[in-house]
Amino acid sequence: MTAGPDLADARLAAAGDAEAFGRLYWRHAARVKALARRLLGPSDAEDGTQEVFVRAWRGLGKFRGESAFGTWLHRLAVNVLLRELERSRRRMTEDISLETLAAEPGSSGDPDLERALAALPAGVREVVVLHDMESYTHDQIGRLLGIGQSASKMRLHRGRSALRGLLANREQR
């Protein structure tokens, strides 16, 4: 994504130009929605994306153009979506089974992988998504989640091991 139009539109949007914000939305929404799908699951991806863009609109004054707009937005999206994930976990019964998730609407991507990700325990799913799907380092994940690097590594290894088991079970059915 070119920085030029993003920077110009971000400045216009920060001054209240919703049309400019719309152009930013159309250029960046797919990546944010993919992240929301991975972290929250397909059924909450749309709401999560909306929340990210509403927060971005309100926080545009803090965007100084020191990094690319896409980088700034992605960082904001991770923070907003992690909070949403935490909130939705508090709302939901903790006991999520694969059978329950099988009834959830898929997203036409890799449904087995999505269901297996959704079945990972709290705190593990976000580490796997951020490290193995979004290329965050353990240092960055540790700072985002307020945990140490070694805890982040431990959760990643636990998560991969659980995913292997979950995917193997599904593929045997």
Partner: protein, 196 residues
């Protein structure tokens, strides 16, 4: 079948094993077909995760943009709602602690007003008949919770009257009704000794 190395494969894959242990594992891999298979599966999994593409379903739609457009154009007063919800849910947590639930909080959709009205009406009637079974501090926490939720519901109703298409407030209303039902159901369970 797993052995002492099968839980270390992920660390090995990420280059996190100390050199001595990495060499030992490489020697072990020559003889252990299970660990070789595990490592192959792990590599495939990491590649599968990394390759998860941006899907057609991830592409933005005009409808989604319009919802965002409405949300960013709405007057700021609508952000009074989250604080009311936070207060209501804080009350819920206090009542929850006092009512000592044996099960995790179960939240169900209460999106249909008629169903919600009937359910709350029935629960309130049972609670009225069995209130004497609750400890005074429980009654106090219950009433505070319900008052906080009712106040947030009133605010949400006013916000919806002013802006009926506001998705955020509509969702919040559903959550508040869920919260009210959960509090009532839990209180009834404590008062009557029966889960509903």
């Amino acid at each position: 079948m797993s052995d002492a190395w099968s839980d270390r494969l992920s660390e090995y894959l990420d280059g996190e094993l100390p050199p001595g242990e990495a060499r030992e594992l490489e020697l072990h891999l020559r003889d252990c077909a299970v660990c070789r298979h595990g490592l192959t599966e792990l590599k495939a999994l990491v590649a599968r995760l990394a390759a998860d593409p941006v899907l057609a379903a991830d592409q933005p739609t005009s409808q989604e943009w319009q919802a965002i457009r409405r949300a960013i154009s709405a007057p700021r007063r609508r952000w009074m709602i989250p604080s009311a919800i936070a207060a209501a849910l804080a009350g819920l947590a206090i009542a929850g602690a006092l009512l000592r639930p044996r099960e995790p909080l179960r939240v169900e959709a209460a999106a249909v007003p008629a169903v919600y009205d009937r359910a709350t009406g029935e629960l309130e009637a049972i609670l009225r008949d069995n209130k004497a079974q609750l400890r005074p501090e429980t009654v106090q926490a219950l009433e505070a919770s319900l008052a906080a939720i009712d106040s947030a519901i009133s605010q949400a109703e006013r916000a919806l009257a002013a802006d009926p298409a506001n998705d955020y407030v509509t969702r919040s209303m559903g959550q508040l009704r869920d919260a009210r039902l959960t509090v009532l159901r839990r209180a009834v369970a404590v008062a009557t000794g029966k889960e509903l």
